[in-house]
């Protein structure tokens, strides 16, 4: 392929990515572009120059896309909705709303019927409605559904039967959602990387819904307050549980329906926050080294650090899933190396502190759970750093980095399941 052909092919691919242009429009524009190039070459320019000028004269593709949008307003939905055809999309919204209402009511029933067990079982009750939503709106294999349902039952039995232990109970509340979420990913039926993306995007949409809904609720409560009515009982006992549960399904619908919005938006977030997280980790590291005795004492700090590392890992994982695999190595990839290095440094500090604590005060369910999680994270981070360094140096394809992450995912599942099912009897339901 000649240089010009390659350039035109690249241009075509670039234009084709805008969903506002149909293939025939791109054909038409390409014919125009080539016509212009031919004339410029005839007038004595070389092909590269001619191509550049022709592209420039064509105008900014963003602007052109907007102009096309104005003319072809019937295509505007393409900006918003990715898959399938008309009736399927209409059904998706109805199904999402129905499943959302179901999830909300199910959680409400659970809270009324078994208030003590509600925190442990909440995700197990809510998320099946998300699975139901998937099953209704797309083809889900019976095998995946059965496997997910079976897993849920296996998990639900200890969750419901184990006695309430102070530590192990809390650990179960924290780890059960992870296990149930893996079931959802099974029903989701994309590749593992797709599931990671879906998870990240759903988390962002859920957060936005939560913030917006929270603000609205506060305003409503304040207005009721003014007229001397107390809306709080209704809000806490009905509105909050029902909406918190329903929003999960609605967020899942949004991820699919407004795909291109989140597609454009999240990589930007990742780019903005990666340097900020680097700064935060560096600050934490400096703070630790200036007062080493603090981390040896404060257990909450260790738990907090585990949470931060988990967040870092999540952000890193999402950034990977959103990366164009063939794009060349850039500044952002190097920044991620810095992020990984800092995260490992922080994690090592935390690990050392934890081992010291366990040696000094003996083990407890919390400490072992935190230690296990940190070991799992640090293993992943070290290997990721190794592979990513290879990728940035150009000695490894990006696929290696990706493959490692997806291969590692089951480790989290196994650990979370173990903490839920194995820990309570191991520690006498402490």
């Amino acid at each position: 392929m000649s240089g010009l052909e390659r350039s035109v092919a690249q241009w075509r691919a670039y234009v084709s990515r805008r969903r506002m242009f149909h293939a025939v429009d791109v054909d038409e524009l390409e014919d125009h572009l080539r016509g212009r190039i031919d004339d410029l070459v005839t007038s004595g320019l070389d092909e590269d120059e001619a191509f550049l000028i022709a592209v420039r004269r064509m105008g900014a593709i963003d602007e052109l896309s907007r102009e096309f949008a104005r003319e072809h307003s019937e295509r505007l939905w393409k900006q918003l909705v990715l898959p399938a055809d008309e009736p399927v999309r209409a059904r998706a919204l109805t199904s999402a709303l129905a499943c959302g209402v179901g999830a909300g009511l199910a959680l409400k029933v659970l809270i009324e019927a078994a208030p003590d067990l509600a925190p442990r079982l909440a995700t197990g009750v809510v998320l099946p409605f998300l699975a139901l939503y998937f099953a209704v709106t797309r083809t889900v294999s019976a095998r995946a559904l059965t496997a997910a349902a079976l897993g849920l039952v296996v998990l639900a039995v200890p969750l419901a039967w184990y006695p309430e232990g102070d530590s192990t109970g809390v650990l179960m509340v924290l780890h059960a959602p992870v296990v149930v979420w893996f079931g959802i990913c099974l029903v989701y039926q994309g590749s593992r990387m797709d599931a990671v993306r879906f998870t990240g995007e759903l988390a962002v949409y859920y957060f936005m819904l939560a913030v917006g809904g929270g603000g609205l609720t506060v305003l409503t409560a304040a207005s009721f307050d003014l007229i001397g009515r107390d809306a709080e009982p209704f809000i806490t006992s009905w509105l909050l549980p029902c909406c918190a549960a329903g929003a999960v399904v609605v967020a899942a619908w949004l991820v699919e329906a407004k795909q291109s919005v989140v597609e454009n938006f999240l990589p930007v977030l990742a780019r903005v926050f990666t340097p900020l997280v680097c700064l935060m980790l560096a600050a934490v590291l400096v703070a630790f080294s200036s007062s080493p005795d603090v981390i040896a004492i404060d257990r909450d700090l260790l738990v907090l650090m585990a949470a931060i590392l988990l967040l870092v890992l999540g952000a890193y994982l999402y950034a990977l899933s959103a990366r164009e695999p063939l794009a060349p190595v850039g500044l952002f990839d190097r920044l991620q190396l810095a992020l990984l290095t800092l995260a490992i440094a922080v994690d090592v500090v935390v690990l050392v502190a934890m081992v010291v604590r366990i040696a000094e005060f003996g083990s407890s369910p919390n400490k072992v759970a935190a230690l296990g999680l940190n070991l799992i994270i640090v293993t992943n981070l070290v290997r990721s750093l190794w592979l990513s360094t290879g990728f940035v140096r150009g000695t490894r394809p990006f696929a290696d980095v990706e493959r490692w992450q997806t291969a590692y995912l089951p480790v989290y599942l196994a650990w979370a399941a173990f903490v839920c099912i194995g820990f309570p009897p191991m520690f006498d339901f402490a």
Binding site: E28, D31, D39, M58, E63, L64, E67, R70, E71
Partner: protein
């Protein structure tokens, strides 16, 4: 000379319909003809011609068909419809009215 944006927008439809009145044509050729007619004074951003052509097609003023060019490329041609011809006639009268009025203004004593 840089033509005012509104004026370009107002004249573009008439120019395109007028060019297609002479003979069927395709995007790039229409654009070249516009440049030629205006002595290079009217220059559009190339791409912007296509939303306009598509609008005219939607309104039924022009029709399109695909042909293969001498270079073997698929090319979309446009032709004027009877409705388009009627619109052109109307536009032509309008522009002539404006043109006449302006001409009288320019030749009136006190200007230029």
């Amino acid at each position: 000379m840089h033509l005012d944006k509104d004026l370009v927008a107002a004249s573009a439809t008439t120019l395109v319909l007028g060019i297609l009145h002479d003979a069927d044509s395709y995007g790039y050729a229409i654009l070249k003809r516009v440049t030629e007619l205006s002595g290079g004074e009217i220059a559009w951003t190339d791409g912007m011609l296509y939303p306009l052509l598509h609008r005219l097609e939607r309104l039924g003023h022009v029709q399109s068909y695909w042909q293969t060019s001498e270079q073997g490329r698929r090319r979309k041609h446009y032709s004027l419809t009877p409705e388009g011809a009627a619109v052109l006639q109307e536009r032509r009268t309008q522009w002539q009215t404006v043109d006449r009025a302006l001409n009288r203004l320019w030749t009136a004593p006190g200007i230029a």
